[in-house]
Symmetry: C2
Subunit: 202 residues, 2 copies
DNA sequence: CTGATTTTACAGCGATCGCTAAAGAAAGTG
DNA sequence: CACTTTCTTTAGCGATCGCTGTAAAATCAG
């Protein structure tokens, strides 16, 4: 069943096509990327796209999911791999500065910028990305709560405010990157941002 | 010439129509707002809109210009009216927290969020708002340079990095507001953000 | 009043949107 | 070979996009 290969084989590389779709959505957003743009970049015709990926919405979801496990994976990785919570957030911001300005792909973060302007009929796409960002804030807060429980943050530290703050800084860095900020500028922003981290309870 | 009033008078309030257009563009962005949406909210027909405002692009420009002198005026006001530069930036962030979550209008900042996803044919609109944001960063930097010259910042303060940092924080706060953050949360973010301000040269 | 001027509502332009029916082309199966 | 399955291309669907031609309606000047 799973490996039966009957019928005419697909004549294009599905993964390569997905990468092209990712680059387009990343740069121009969901509504700013048309099926015509996608098929041109993928080198296929509309029916092939629909047969391989469903519809535009399903393709976008697949793109975003793949983005989270590749380009966007540095976030949770940085928080998880650094033992010291403060070092984890610092590393996350540093890596954001590098990733958001990588000339190998569009600037900024796809999840942050790909669906900010929603017309009524694409409100669900906007809501999807919003949920991912909200989950990210929650992830920050959980990590900060964990840090406090382990004594890496003062007992009275405002973990909720810190979580929203770090999310805002990351989103702001993404926007700045799209507006043309350099890697160096964003690295310095990342270091400035870490001044908000409270002193440990001594 | 200027006050000649010949012909049929306009049957709608141009200012009120402009406010309606502002609210729509603010919430749904440039591309997410159609002429049909606009005429419905304004209570007029397409020819009336085109006669009064030119085309969609001109209407949007007028909306953004008006936004800058009303809703968005708190930024330069805060920097200009506080004598102490640090107090000026702190006040700007505090007022952003309030304005971006004001239930009387859409969340966040129109200049920041109304044209982030640009399809090729609207790249000029995107570029227009981008220029306004870049000018804002430059304004921050000028104010910081002024602060350093007057001894309110250390001689070795990185004014460029601070300017990009504050711009990123403001943009992040706008995004967080659109994602549902509360006024209180953003106020606490504003206070945390001020920790990046360098100590005065003693 | 008549005539000139401007705005109005109605209808629809060409272009593009996301998407798909139809039929031919390329593979495996017998 | 014939048959089934799947992908391909061609062509175009209905809907919406920004925008406008046309003519009636409403005000002015004389």
């Amino acid at each position: 069943m799973t490996t039966t290969k009957r019928g005419r084989p697909r004549s294009f590389d599905r993964e390569a096509a997905l990468v092209q779709a990712t680059l387009l959505f990343w740069q121009h957003g969901y509504e700013g990327t048309s099926i015509s743009d996608l098929t041109a970049a993928m080198g296929i015709s509309p029916p092939s796209l629909y047969a391989a990926f469903g519809d535009k919405r399903a393709l976008f979801t697949e793109v975003v999911d793949r983005y989270g496990t590749t380009f966007g994976a540095f976030m949770e990785d940085a928080l998880a791999r650094e033992r010291d919570p403060r070092a984890g957030f610092a590393r996350m911001l540093e890596e954001a500065a590098v990733s958001y300005t990588d000339p190998g792909h569009p600037a900024g973060c796809l999840v942050i910028s790909a669906a900010t302007n929603y017309s009524p009929q694409t409100a669900d796409v906007e809501q999807d990305l919003r949920a991912r960002r909200t989950a990210n804030v929650g992830s920050f807060e959980a990590r900060l709560e964990d840090a406090r429980a382990r004594g890496a943050l003062p007992e009275d530290a405002d973990t909720r405010a810190l979580a929203v703050y770090f999310a805002a800084v990351v989103q702001g860095m993404s926007q700045q990157a799209r507006d043309g900020a350099s890697t160096q500028e964003l690295r310095r922003v990342a270091r400035l941002a870490m001044n908000a981290w409270p002193e440990p309870p001594a």
